[in-house]
Symmetry: D2
Subunit: 341 residues, 4 copies
C-alpha cells in the first residue's frame, strides 16, 4: 500500500508532528510506503511530490511549519481539478490519501471521497472553531503565546497607567481570545460571537482604573461593536502621510481614548501566534491524530477524519469538519465576564 | 454567607488561580464573604486563618504555589480532629468550605461531609491520576517542563552519543512520562503501570544507536523492572565516600552501561516540575474549577467536587476522587510504543 | 542616613531588581533607612512617598515594572520644581537620592546635583543607546523577546512564502534591531543610523525567494528610507472606513508588495518588548547596578552614576548619561550585512 | 582557499551559530570553500569529512548541538597524531583550519600552529572559565536555564517549607552558580573558588526560615566544604538496595537535614544546562565569533583566537585560552553574599 500525505491551508504548530506519526506508524505497524505531495492540493493537482520515509521525518516533531509545504490551492475551483488529482494519484500509484487541513482542505477531501478516492482527514484549525472535535492542535500553542504576551503587558499597563489592547486571532470564533484572556487575567474580553457595546467597554475601563490598576483588553480580530457605533469620519494620516488598513484593536484604542481620556495602545499579535515550536499538548494531540489517521487508513475508514472527544481519539465523517462552526457558547462568555472591569 | 477556603497537599501550579476565581466570583455574583485557612487542614484544625478578599487575590493568577500555604496535616489521624474542625468552623462563623487538594485532602472533606459540614471540593493532582476528571490543573505545566527538558537533552545525547535518561514524576501512574515522552520524541518510555524488561530496553537502545542517533529514555519515578532484574550487590561510593538513596533513573543508567557498553546519564527533574507559573491551559482549567466550585456552593451541592469532562466542567461526588486511581490504559501505552527504539 | 529611591521614564524589566539590591545592601551593609518616592520625579515634587524596607522588596526580583511606579513628570519644566523637590527632601529628612531612569530622569538628577542635592544615578534605557555603559538592563530581555518572535515567524514565512516584517523598538538607535535580527537569522535588518534604499531591500527580498526560502525583515521603528522614497498619495481605508497612524513596518510592507509582487505582512511587537520578567542577564546587571549605586552613596560619589564596562561595574559622571547617544557603529552594521538577502 | 572546520569537546549552545557564520561570511566575502571534519580532532586524524557549504548551514542558527559532531579525541595522545593530521590536511587540500572548542581542543590547535599548520581558534566553554574573553557563548543559555529552574523552585520551597538545593555546572569555577544564584534570588551560593563552612550554611538556612520564607541554595558541582567536614560513615542504600555516586548537592542536603532538622531536597540540573536552543545573546556572540574567525583567516592571523572584550570582538594568541583559568573574584563573591540568609 502506498499512501500520499498533504498539508493544506494556514500554518499551524503540530503539522509536522502529524506527518511524522502517520509515517512512523504506517511504516512500522503496517509496512506502508509513503509519498509526500507538496503545497496542499497543488501537489496532487500538478503531480508535485517529494520522498516521505522514516528518515525524512526525523527531527521534525518539535518544528513549526510543514515539511510538505502548504497552499490554499482549491482543485474544486480549477478546471478538471478533481479529475486531474485522480489521474495523478493513479500515475504515482497512490492507494490512499491522508489530507491534513482545515475546512477548505477537508472540503476537497470530502468531494474526492464522493469520487471514490480513498481518503482520511486530519482536522487543523488554529482557531479551534471546528465542531467535530474538542480541540485541534496548534490552538494550545497560540493560546500560550497570547497569554505570555498578556503577562508581559500587565507590568507596562501598570507603570504607564494606560489601557493596553491585545488583538488576537479569531475571525469567526473567540476561542483564542477567551482562553488567553482568562489565562492572562484580562479585564475585558471581546469575541466575534457577541457584538460589544463600546460604552460598556469604557465603563469597564473606568472601573478598572478606579481600583488603581490599569486594564488589559483582549479582542479577537473578528469582534465587532454594536450597530451604529463604528462611524468614523475623521481620518488621521500616519507619520509618512500614508494610510493603512488597520483592525478592530486600533479602532477600539482610538474610541477609548476619545471617550475616557485614558491613553490606549494596541498590540496586534498576528503571525507570531501560529508559528514556531508546538506546546507539549499540541505535539501530543498531533501525534495521536497521526497514529489514528493511519489506523483509519488501515481499517479502510474512507471519508472519515480523526477527532478528539475527552481524552479519546475517534473518527467522524469528513462532512463533520465543514458542517458547523464551533463558537464560544454564551454560557462560557458569561463565566468569563465575572472577571471584567 | 461566609466561605472558608483551604489548599492541602503538594505544590501544584494553578492553586492560586482556583483561589482567585472562587473569591472573585463569590464576591461579585453571590456577595459572599471569604476567610482563608492556612496550611491545608492545619488551618481549620488549629483555627489559623487569614483575610481573603478581592484585594488579597489580586495578581496571584500567574503565580505558582498557594497564598494560603499547604501542609499534609490529616485531621482524621489527629485526636478529635473532625470535631475540632467543626468547632472552629463554628467559631469563625464559616457556613461552607471549599477544599482544594488531592486524594488525602478530599478524603478529609468526604468525612466532614458525612458529619454535615457543608463542603465542596476541587481536585488537585499534578500526576493526573484521578479517575473522576479528564485532567487536573498543574499536569499540563509539569508535562511542558519535562518536554522542554527532553528537547534540550536531544542535542546533548547526539553530540556525546550517550543514553540520556530523564526521570519524571509519577509514583503510581505514568501520565507525565507518557505525555512528555511522546511530546519530546523519547525513544523509550517506562511507566509504573507496566513492569519493564531491562533486556528489551537495552535492545531499544542498541537499535536507536544503529540509526546513528542517541536515545532518550523517559522513566516515571514509580516504574519498576521485571521481577528478579533488580538484584544489585556491588555498591559504589560517591566522590565523598558517601552513599545516597537514588532512584530508578540512576539504577537504569548503571544497568544500561553494564549491559550495552554505552555511556548513560540520568537527569532527575524533581521539584522543578511542580513549581512556577502555570501554563495557559492550567490557568484556564483552574479558573473554571474555581468558578464552578463557588457555583456548587451557591447551589448547595455539598459533598461534591468539580471535574472536567471533555470541555465541560461538571460536579461529581467527592468519593469519586478517592475511589480509583486513573492509570495509563494499556492501549495508549501500545500507541506510544510505535516510537520506541 | 535616609535614602530616597525613585524610578522614572518608560517601563523596563529590571527596575525592581535595582530597587531590591539598593535596599538589601543599604540596610545590611550600611544600616541605611529608605523611603520610596512614587512615580518618578512626581514623588519628591509632590511629596508622595511609600515605605521601602527589606520586607517591601521581597519577591520583586523576577517581576517586571516597578513597585515605585513611574511617570514622565519633569520638575525642570514645573514652576519652582527643583526648589520644591529640595524642600520635600528636607521635609522627609532624606539625606541622599538614588534616581533610576533614562536621559530625562538623569538630566533632572544632574540639575539637582548642581543644586547640592546628594544624588546617585542608575541608567535605564531599553534601547541600549547610552554611551556611558556597555549595556543597560532591560535590553537583553527585549532582544530575547524579539528573537523569539522572529523564530516563530520563520516557519510561517516559509509555509506561506510571504515577506514577514517585524518592527521592533528603537527610535534613534538600532540596537534591538541588529541584535535580534542577527540572533533570529533575519534576512534584512534596517536601523535608524543608516537610511535604507527600498530598491535594495526589494533586491534582497527577491534574492531570498530565489533560494526557495521566504525573507524576514527586522526594522527598527525609527528606521527611514532614502530621501524621496516615501511619497504616498494613495490612501487606503481600513475595514471600518477608519484611518490609522501606522509605522515604518506597514509602509515597508506596502512598498514591497507594490514593487516585488510578493505578499508582505508586518508584526509590530510594541509593548511586549518592555514588560514581564527580566532575563537572567538583566537581573544580574540590575542587581549589580543596585549594589554599586548604594556603594556610591556610601562613598559620597554624588553626581555620578553606575555603568558597565566589560564585566566591571564602575561609576561615571551623571552628565555622561545625557552627553551623547550610543548608536550602532557602521562597522557592526557591515558585519551584519553579510547575512542579508 | 579551502578551510576546514571542526568542533571539539562538550556540547554547548551556539556551536552551530559559529559554523554558520564562518561559512556564510567565508563564502560571500572571501570566496572560500569549506570542508567539515567530523567529531572534533577525530575528523582530521582519521580523514573523516563532510560537505560544508551555504546550504549545509541553512536553518542551524537556533539549534543546539553541532552538525559537525564532537568528541574528546586528543591527537597529542595518539601515535603520530599531529603528523597524521598534517597528512590528512594535505590530502584534502585544506589550506587553513578553524578549530572551535575548549582548553583541550585549542591546546591541540596551539601545537598544530607550532608545526606550521594555519589555524585560527574559537573559544568555547559553557563554564565561562576562560581568562582571555569576557564571555563565551553557551554560558548565557546555561545561566538562563538554571535561573528558570530556581524561579520554579521558589514556590515549592515556600509551600513545603523545605530547603531546596540546586546543583549547577562548574567544576573549577562558580560562574554559572553565582550568575544564576543572583538572578534567581538564591539565599546561599556555593562556588569552587571558596571552600564553604557547613555550619555557616546552616546558619543562613536557619536565618532564612526565621523570616518565614524557605531557602534556596545554589551549589556549583565543584564546590567543597572546609577540610574535615566531609567525613561520612553512615551509608544509606537506595530503594533498590543500590548505591550510587552522588554529588555535593546530595551531600549538602543530608548534612543540612542532620544539622538543622529541616527537610532538604536536591535538584541536579545536569545536562539540561548545555543543550537546546541558544539565547539571543549566545547566538549574537557565536555569530560574531564566527565572522571574526574567518576575518582572522583572511588576515593570516594564524595561532590566534577570537575573544570578547566589552562589546568588541578581538583576537588574542591561542595560548591565552589555556594559560589561566578565569575564576570568580573574591570581591564579586562578597557582593553576592549580601543576599545570603
Amino acid at each position: 500500500m502506498r499512501v500520499g500525505v498533504l498539508t493544506g491551508g494556514g500554518d499551524c504548530p503540530g503539522l509536522n508532528a502529524v506527518i511524522r506519526a502517520v509515517v512512523r506508524k504506517g511504516v512500522q505497524d503496517y509496512g506502508y510506503e509513503f509519498i509526500g505531495f507538496r503545497d496542499g492540493w497543488r501537489g496532487p493537482l500538478e503531480g508535485d511530490t517529494m520522498p516521505l520515509d522514516v528518515k525524512a521525518v526525523r527531527g521534525i516533531l518539535p518544528r513549526g511549519g510543514t515539511i510538505l509545504g502548504s497552499s490554499r490551492t482549491n482543485p474544486i475551483k480549477v478546471d478538471r481539478g478533481i479529475e486531474r488529482i485522480r489521474e495523478n494519484l493513479g500515475k504515482f500509484e497512490v492507494d490512499a490519501l491522508v489530507a491534513i487541513g482545515g475546512e477548505d482542505t477537508l472540503g476537497v477531501a470530502t468531494r474526492l471521497h464522493e469520487h471514490d478516492v480513498k481518503v482520511v482527514g486530519v482536522p487543523k484549525t488554529i482557531d479551534n472553531d471546528l465542531n467535530a472535535t474538542d480541540y485541534t492542535f496548534g490552538f494550545d500553542t497560540a493560546v500560550n503565546i497570547a497569554t505570555e504576551a498578556i503577562d508581559r503587558l500587565h507590568t507596562t499597563a501598570e507603570s504607564h497607567r494606560r489601557v493596553l489592547i491585545v488583538e488576537v486571532m479569531g475571525r469567526h470564533a473567540g476561542w483564542i481570545a477567551i482562553h488567553s484572556g482568562m489565562a492572562g487575567g484580562a479585564n475585558v474580553i471581546l469575541i466575534p460571537e457577541q457584538n460589544f457595546d463600546v460604552e460598556e467597554v469604557c465603563a469597564w475601563v473606568d472601573s478598572r482604573f478606579r481600583t488603581n490598576y490599569a486594564p488589559i483588553i483582549v479582542v479577537a480580530e473578528g469582534a465587532i461593536p454594536l450597530a451604529g457605533q463604528m462611524v468614523t469620519k475623521d481620518q488621521t494620516l500616519d507619520a509618512f502621510g500614508h494610510v493603512k488598513l488597520s483592525g478592530i484593536g486600533d479602532w477600539l484604542a482610538s474610541e477609548i481614548e476619545k471617550r475616557t481620556g485614558h491613553e490606549a495602545r494596541t498590540t496586534v499579535l498576528g503571525h507570531v501566534q501560529r508559528g514556531g515550536t508546538p506546546t507539549a499538548f499540541d505535539r501530543w494531540l498531533a501525534t495521536r491524530f497521526g497514529f489514528h489517521a493511519i489506523d483509519a487508513v488501515n481499517a479502510g475508514e474512507w471519508g472519515r477524519m480523526v477527532a478528539l472527544r475527552g481524552t479519546d481519539v475517534v473518527t467522524v465523517p469528513l462532512e463533520a469538519a465543514t458542517r458547523e462552526l464551533k463558537t464560544v457558547p454564551p454560557a462560557l462568555y458569561e463565566e468569563a465576564k465575572v472577571l471584567f472591569g
